[in-house]
């Protein structure tokens, strides 16, 4: 088996888009691409946890950010690792403006639908990485 794919959401806490990226990552790793995709605590990169850095080094990395601050992307880059694909949650929502998450973390049905659309987009990105390999 080839390289594993690590998907790192920013998990923003101020607006729902951070949680949507996180839930999309879980759906991707558990339901859509089980065994192919994993995630990692972004905080471990901030403290330069050696095992986390090693896991990232051996993987394709996809970041998922909730806003233009691009925290996941920048935190990976700050370790010296190149990101293979950077996704912003807002890219997906342009086509689903009718769906409004209920709360920041309690997304409700519309928020989970948005997470699902994002998970599908991420699944397409995973397929691209697999083909490249």
């Amino acid at each position: 088996m080839g390289k594993k794919i690590l998907v790192l959401p920013c998990s923003g806490i101020g607006k729902a888009y951070g949680e949507i990226g996180r839930q999309a990552t879980y759906e991707l790793a558990e339901d859509l691409k089980p065994g192919q995709v994993d995630t990692l605590c972004l905080g471990r990169l901030m403290i330069r946890d050696p095992e986390a850095l090693e896991r990232m080094e051996d993987s394709f990395v996809i970041t998922v950010d909730g806003c233009a601050k691009d925290c996941a992307l920048k935190n990976v880059e700050a370790t010296g690792k190149k990101v293979d694909k950077a996704v912003r949650t807002l890219e997906v929502f342009k086509d689903h403006r009718d769906l409004k998450p209920e709360g920041v973390l309690n997304l409700g049905e519309p928020g989970f639908k948005l997470a699902h659309y994002l998970a599908e987009k991420l699944s397409g990105e995973v397929d691209c990485r697999m083909k490249e390999e």
């Binding site: 790192l8 923003g12 806490i13 607006k15 605590c41 471990r44 901030m46 946890d49 601050k69 935190n75």
Partner: protein, 148 residues
């Protein structure tokens, strides 16, 4: 402009407490930190607490990095790696208080599920427990500030 900062008041004497949960994507306790902090922000101590996305300490600007010097800050970590406490201290300022929630949960006899994605009843109880502890600490800190 940050989407993550709830509000930063300009008055020099802090009247609010900062709360920064760890990211915690890998484990259930990492999700509990988020939900507990949000519960304090939105329900238990609404208006008395503010938050900042932890990874903004690296990705953000100078104003965001000053967060822990502008607010007495409580960090909330899901495990002994203490990513929020260590990063906040290194990149922003020494936290006023740091929680690692594992002991608190164990002492209460609660067992967390394996999943960081969906909560069991016991996980939900843990959220309430951690939120109550954070709220107590917010009161303590604001009380101390008020006494100065």
């Amino acid at each position: 402009m940050s989407e993550a900062i709830v509000e930063i008041p300009q008055n020099p004497k802090p009247v609010k407490v900062g709360i920064v949960p760890c990211n915690g994507e890998e484990i259930c306790a990492g999700s509990i930190t988020r939900f507990a902090c949000r519960k304090v922000l939105d329900e238990l101590r609404k208006g008395q607490a503010v938050t900042l996305c932890l990874p903004l300490f690296i990705a953000g600007d100078k104003g965001e990095r000053q967060f822990a010097t502008r607010f007495p800050t409580i960090t909330v970590d899901g495990c002994e790696k203490r990513c929020s406490a260590i990063s906040t201290e290194k990149l922003s300022g020494k936290p006023a208080y740091s929680f690692v929630i594992t002991d608190m949960i164990k002492d209460a006899g609660l067992e967390l599920s394996e999943s960081p994605r969906t909560f069991s009843e016991s996980d939900k109880e843990a959220v309430d427990l951690v939120a109550a502890e954070i709220a107590k600490k917010v009161d303590e800190i604001l009380g101390q500030e008020g006494d100065e």
